[in-house]
């Protein structure tokens, strides 16, 4: 199982630098974002504790397999983006752009599956106002979906700049910042998936 090329052997060795990757501003933005999501997760868990039966019934209507597919899609996109950062460091900007576009394609799977989920729930008559579970479900996953769409936009912009030679091994601040933002989106989903879909 080796979907990433061997020429880029060790992500840690290729980047083992005492420097913080990306811009410091993006890290404060990431801290702000993950704190916001942490509060939303805690609110979700607290509301769930108030009416456990309602939440368990709501979970039965969701599609856990769609959640699993989405998790795999986001993790794969993150792997592709990480590979893109490494390729840029090796002065292979076209390869780097290719990996980023592949990441965008994988992330698009997430968007399609998530829209399908919303569509299915809509057809079944569930919406924001159905009950507390669906209100927090749509708010939480919808807010995350907006971040995924923003992350995809960043990746496309960065990939286009890579193709124009806008980044290099010594000039990768924007690329690394965009990549870290994308990994944050993935990180949030890694917690969202079990809380919403699989913990009963």
């Amino acid at each position: 199982m080796n979907i990433f090329p061997k020429s880029t052997d060790n992500i840690a060795q290729a980047s083992a630098s005492p420097e913080l990757p990306g811009d410091l501003v993006i890290w404060f933005l990431i801290l702000l974002e993950i704190t916001t999501f942490a509060l939303m997760f805690l609110a979700f868990s607290w509301v769930r504790g108030q009416d456990r039966e309602l939440f368990l019934a709501g979970q039965q209507v969701l599609h856990p397999l769609a959640g699993l597919i989405n998790t795999i899609a986001l993790l794969t996109a993150s792997g592709f983006v990480a590979q893109g950062v490494i390729e840029n460091r090796r002065n292979k900007q076209n390869y780097a752009a290719y990996w980023l576009y592949t990441g965008v394609a994988s992330a698009t799977v997430y968007v399609v599956v998530k829209c399908w989920e919303y569509w299915q729930l809509g057809l079944a008559g569930y919406g924001l106002e159905s009950n507390e579970f669906f209100m927090v479900y749509f708010l939480l996953t919808g807010f995350h979906l907006l971040h995924v769409l923003l992350g995809i936009s960043f990746l496309v912009i960065i990939a286009r700049k890579l193709q124009r030679g806008g980044y290099g091994p010594s000039d990768a601040l924007g690329l690394e910042s965009g990549a870290c933002y994308w990994h944050m989106v993935d990180l949030i989903w890694v917690l969202l998936f079990p809380i919403v879909y699989i913990i009963h």
């Binding site: 199982m1 980047s15 005492p18 942490a38 993790l75 490494i86 917690l191 079990p194």
Partner: protein, 81 residues
């Protein structure tokens, strides 16, 4: 030889599928604890591996690496009630 990006990705996928299967076994609180613990491990792999904070010794790495375990613990305390 498997490169590190592939290895991290593969472990993340394995943990994800493992968590998914585990959730079907039981609804006991300790299953939720294991699933949240696995999510915290996934967070660590993303932060140190994909975000490349491995080797960085500043505040940001500690803050990021504490995020998943602490949040998972609080969520479990709320969920197990």
């Amino acid at each position: 030889m498997i490169n590190r990006t592939s290895l991290i990705w593969f472990i993340l996928i394995l943990i994800t599928i493992g968590s998914y299967i585990l959730a079907d076994i039981s609804t006991m609180p300790w299953i939720a604890a294991i699933i949240l613990g696995l999510a915290a491990i996934k967070g660590y792999l993303i932060i140190d591996g994909f975000m490349e904070l491995y080797g960085y010794k500043g505040f940001m790495r500690y803050a990021m690496n504490l995020y998943c375990p602490i949040l998972s613990l609080f969520i479990w305390l709320l969920v197990k009630q």
